[in-house]
Symmetry: C2
Subunit: 240 residues, 2 copies
């Protein structure tokens, strides 16, 4: 059995907050648990917040913004290494980490104040590793940690949460070469367990009720890797 438990009472996170300590106070954490933390609170604790009043939009940002705020588009362009699709004011972009997502992960809902936007962490794997180390220091528990974000998907409606940073867990379960119960080799079967864990945690997160983290117990996810392992290499990507 797997259990997914929300971490409640973490409403207002500010730059410099000790997020690991705030979580450790509110959750009973055990070796082998997977802690999933929403990107937005990680970014806020790391001060990845931009005030739009400080942003001067470029010509391209004005063009892509349509009737919307060009300063927000300007921030998205700065956070992008490649623009994948646009339909003003929607921009799908590749981030410096290699993630392809709406607005390069720049988020204006639930932001850190009026007229601000929240960026992705600079290095979400490092963010996850810091949370993991600090929680081990505080509690002794050796966790897996995932930093999650809500991504849209081509061809499917709605977002699902995926792993954009991780530490101490396996991003992919590689079954290539394994045999199923009928004796057939499972060709090309790699399961993105870190994304499924992030999505499972989302089911108890509260976008409208201030629950930005969850603990998953009972899934043996221990292993090494990074969330960049979840990014399709360009030479295997049929959708560049």
């Amino acid at each position: 059995m797997i259990a997914i438990v929300p971490v409640e009472g973490l409403l207002e996170i500010q730059e410099g907050d000790d997020l690991a300590a705030l979580i450790a106070e509110r959750a009973e954490l055990q070796d082998g648990d997977v802690l999933v933390v929403a990107q937005k609170v990680v970014s806020k604790a790391e001060g990845r917040v931009v005030r739009l009043v400080d942003v001067e939009p470029s010509e391209e940002a004005r063009r892509l913004a349509g009737d919307h705020d060009p300063r927000r588009i300007e921030v998205i362009l700065r956070e992008s290494r490649r623009i994948v699709r646009t339909r003003p004011p929607l921009v799908i972009a590749e981030t410096p980490h290699g993630f392809v997502c709406a607005s390069a992960g720049v988020d204006s809902s639930n932001a850190a104040g009026p007229e601000t936007v929240v960026l992705l962490p600079e290095d979400p794997d490092a963010s996850a590793a810091r949370l993991r180390d600090r929680i081990r220091e505080l509690t002794g528990a050796d966790l897996g940690v995932i930093v999650s974000d809500s991504f849209g998907r081509p061809w499917r409606q709605g977002t699902t949460d995926v792993a954009i940073g991780l530490a101490g867990i396996l991003p992919l379960l590689d079954l290539r070469g394994e045999r199923d119960p009928a004796g057939y080799e499972l060709h090309a079967t790699m399961i993105a367990v870190a994304d499924e864990l992030a999505g499972a945690a989302e089911l108890v997160l509260g976008k409208t009720s201030g629950i930005p983290a969850a603990v998953i117990r009972g899934f043996d996810a221990k292993g090494e890797g990074t969330a960049r392992d979840l990014v399709m290499p360009a030479d295997r990507d049929l959708f560049r």
Copy 2:
């Protein structure tokens, strides 16, 4: 808290098996539970199995197959309404249901015997509804039911399980117009909860150990809809 419990002991499913009864015997089911069943056992119970010895490959199938079995590609082409990408022997196709996935969902691993392939159910929402009705008849419990399958994603490595059929549950949680704790409207936020439930269930399914179903308890998913609601309408699809 959400709990995810595997339904064990369902190894060999044959055409005509009463899958709902087999599950109800092996799981304790309660009102409000979500039962997630892997597509492969649903398809097998429905007889959606093709013997390759009965398949005559077309010229196009031979061309796309490269060094691989053109009969398998022929079945994929017959199950496709549109070919999205090919890199022999990989075919990404849109199914008649509107799902875009590898091999149009045609599966040769874990098949119903040598030289056979398993197709998607003809109408996976109807499959889910039949399972739901039959389980209510047998146990009195009013469940949500999801038929799940493992789909790849553009730009990301590995598969995650998604809902290809459902009954008695909400496919999408629509937060548009809701406000977050800071008072900001959550623009464009629709969460594909049925896909997250399917992915969460996958964490206890055993591709190599014969666990094709799981029960999720503690998530209030009751509602109406179909898995086709999870398909992006063509006019909003930036990736056709």
